[in-house]
């Protein structure tokens, strides 16, 4: 019996299928769109097979080339990676179902190839145990994203794609320089091996490589001064791509920063600095989102704000703070992906991205409006939805030490949640209570575009009423991450 609980399959299967699309496209022009669904369906099976193993042992490691790490590349899935990989694979699977009817424009087969590669790259970034391999995965992700952002080939898409291309390439170069510096200093590229060798380094010696890697990943993760590309790129892309970019790609980049900061550098001295980044990003994103008229731009700015929120929670540095960050990541991924999918459907029917044109949608597209409302409630943290638990956790984690600063942080977080609620309620007010100016034939989105959003909303609702298992799991993931020894010892020692 072949053992399929191997995290390498998460990368190998979709790659194989992406190449298969290129082979079959000349003959099966209509049929290739089902291939990503099959690929990510198989991936979902592999993730489910991995869950019990990771829960039992805390980590699952796979080698390549039959040579043990640090000499060959390894893949390591611990609780945190499993958490994110599950979300990434789920979103990949659901959004590829959405793509079946959503993508009508040519060249569709190329779109499906790049979409598969995008989700694969994100998964790859999350599961890899090798720093250079993470850079390669980062490149796979961002290069497929450049192409997808420009998919519509109009003026907006071209501008957004080019801006993203320039900033993303600068980010990749900085990341590469950082990796080279670490290799020069430690002579190895394996994350666990670097972590062990870097322990004898001083604060100053660690600073430069850290700064380069942080800036490189920070551009992709849209931290405040580095996020000029995001508000253009996410709206310009097709909605299904936006939901992956906003839902999991920025999160994956933040995961990279978390992995580098805690597992590799064990770098608690920079935490105060990171808190500043988190709060600035939060304030910038939410305030800018408030002033948007274009719904997709609003959601994109909201992504920046949410990224700031969970990055802030992570940089509190405590186990509870990281637990809150992971929960918020999950909440944001599920809710924001749903929002983009639903909004994609609405734009599909209404033909406009302007919020004012959404008047009367609440009556004509009842289901879409309802899904939008639930996802928005969860995103802004309205009780009893899942977002409420994660935001509550973040506030409690902040107040573990009560002083002037932490109280100020809590006030900022609460005030920003208020702004977030304000702009989402404004959209809902237009959707539900405003009369349409002119009677236009608006029909509900096709079933295959609604099913993924319905699935995500069902998951959000289940999590809202039974949050305990996920909360406990996030706590264990945070404890493992802060403990570090599980990761380092099992990669270097075990096998």
């Amino acid at each position: 019996m072949v053992n399929i609980a191997n995290p390498i399959l998460l990368i190998a299967i979709p790659l194989l299928f992406a190449f298969l699309i290129a082979v079959l496209a000349p003959w099966l022009k209509k049929g290739v769109k089902y291939i990503p669904v099959i690929a990510f369906g198989l991936n979902l099976l592999v993730v489910f097979e991995l869950i019990p193993d990771v829960l039992d042992n805390g980590i699952v490691i796979a080698t390549t080339a039959g040579i043990k790490p640090p000499f060959a590349i390894n893949v390591a899935v611990d609780r945190l990676s499993l958490f994110l990989v599950l979300i990434a694979t789920l979103l990949g699977f659901l959004v590829s179902i959405y793509n079946l009817v959503y993508i009508k424009e040519e060249p569709a087969e190329k779109f499906h190839i790049l979409f598969t590669l995008l989700v694969t790259g994100i998964t790859w970034m999350i599961v890899t145990g090798d720093l250079f391999n993470m850079f390669v995965a980062f490149e796979v992700t961002s290069i497929s994203a450049f192409g997808l952002v420009g998919f519509h080939r109009d003026k907006d898409a071209a501008e957004a794609g080019f801006k993203y291309l320039v900033m993303g390439s600068i980010g990749a170069s900085l990341l590469l320089i950082g990796v080279v510096m670490l290799y020069a200093a430690t002579g190895t590229l394996n994350m666990a091996d670097i972590a062990e060798k870097i322990m004898r380094f001083t604060f100053k010696q660690k600073l430069l490589p850290y700064a380069f890697i942080f800036t490189g990943l920070g551009i992709e993760g849209a931290l405040f001064p580095l996020n000029a590309w995001l508000p253009d790129a996410h709206p310009a892309a097709p909605s299904s791509v936006s939901s992956i970019l906003s839902g999991i790609m920025t999160t994956a980049a933040i995961y990279g920063i978390i992995r580098v900061t805690v597992t590799i550098f064990n770098y608690y001295q920079v935490i105060l600095f990171l808190i500043l980044f988190g709060l600035l990003t939060l304030m910038f994103g939410e305030t800018a989102a408030f002033f948007q008229k274009d719904i997709k731009r609003m959601l994109a700015y909201s992504t920046i704000g949410q990224t700031g929120l969970f990055f802030y929670a992570f940089s509190l540095g405590s186990i509870n703070g990281m637990q809150g960050a992971f929960l918020q990541m999950m909440n944001h991924s599920l809710a924001k992906a749903t929002l983009f999918l639903v909004v994609g459907g609405i734009i599909f029917s209404v033909g406009s991205r302007n919020i004012d044109d959404f008047a009367g949608i609440g009556r004509k597209m009842k289901l879409s409006a309802f899904l939008f409302a639930i996802a928005a409630f969860s995103l802004m943290g309205l009780p009893p939805f899942f977002g409420f638990w994660s935001k509550l956790k973040i506030i409690f984690a902040t107040l573990e030490r009560v002083n002037v600063y932490t109280i100020a942080f809590v006030v900022i977080v609460l005030f920003m949640s208020l702004i977030e609620a304000a702009y989402f309620f404004r959209v809902m007010q237009v959707m539900f209570f405003k009369e349409a100016k002119e009677e236009k034939e608006v029909r509900e989105a096709p079933a295959w575009m609604l099913i993924p959003a319905i699935t995500l909303v069902v998951i959000i609702l289940v999590l809202s009423f039974y949050p305990t298992p996920v909360i406990n799991f996030a706590h264990k993931a945070a404890a493992d991450l802060v403990g570090r020894s599980v990761y380092i010892n099992s990669v270097l020692g075990g096998l």
Binding site: N6, A72, M181
Partner: protein
């Protein structure tokens, strides 16, 4: 002006930090634990005479799969951005062909470019070079043909099939190793053979041949997309 000064400052910071860092940690001086291991065990473990190939395809073969994927994504992205709808394609205008010397010369030289490129990637595990280099050489041959005959096009769907099959070969070999032996992705399951012979190093030459085909077809595809952007769409002058 202010903009240029800002660029200068950022560039200065990057250069300064590189200088500071590499003054403290000179590159490659007796501390590359991993590198030493590769030099010592390369022939026993992989059977490749070219240690660079042993590192890129065996020890870090997973990275190379990633690089191949990056190129695949880039070529596909270019194809998307330069896509011209069938109905938008202008009828091919009468082409002004380059002169006789270029046309005939490119025909004579093209087979030799193909031969040289294939030699480079088939011998990747023995001599310097490999799939990426050989593939690029072959693609440069296609570029030459395009320059000599701007109106002609290669068959894109054939390129796409070659590209896909080469990628499947790479990923498939990796999975074969995972499922049949070693329980490790990209496990070198073929016999190592005799050192310095063409049939040595197990799966490494097969992977390099696949990469050679893949890179050649991808670069040829990129050249074709860019030529088509200039020729098929008519373009506003």
């Amino acid at each position: 002006m202010i903009r240029k000064i800002t660029y200068g400052i950022f560039l200065g910071i990057i250069v300064l930090s590189l200088i500071l860092f590499f003054a403290a940690f000179p590159f490659g001086k007796n501390k590359m634990a991993v590198g030493k291991y590769y030099l010592k065990n390369d022939i026993n473990q992989t059977g490749a005479a070219n240690v660079v190939t042993a590192v890129t395809l065996d020890y870090r073969g997973f990275d190379t799969l990633g690089e191949v994927t990056v190129l695949f994504a880039a070529a596909t992205g270019v194809a998307i951005l330069f896509y011209v709808l069938e109905e938008d394609k202008k009828k091919r205008e009468r082409q002004v062909y380059p002169n006789f010397v270029v046309r005939v010369g490119s025909r004579i030289i093209f087979p030799f470019i193909l031969l040289f490129g294939s030699y480079i990637f088939i011998h990747g595990h023995l001599t310097p070079g490999g799939g990426f280099q050989g593939g690029s050489i072959i693609a440069s041959g296609f570029l030459l043909l395009y320059l000599a005959y701007p109106g002609e096009r290669v068959n894109r769907s054939k390129l796409s099939v070659v590209e896909g099959i080469a990628g499947i070969t790479f990923a498939g070999l990796g999975l074969w190793g995972l499922f049949t032996q070693g329980n490790s992705f990209l496990f070198n399951f073929l016999p190592k053979g005799q050192l310095n012979m063409i049939f040595s190093a197990g799966i490494l030459p097969i992977i390099y041949i696949a990469i050679g085909f893949k890179v050649a077809s991808e670069f040829a595809g990129i050249v074709d997309d860019m030529m088509c952007e200039a020729v098929c769409s008519g373009g506003e002058k």
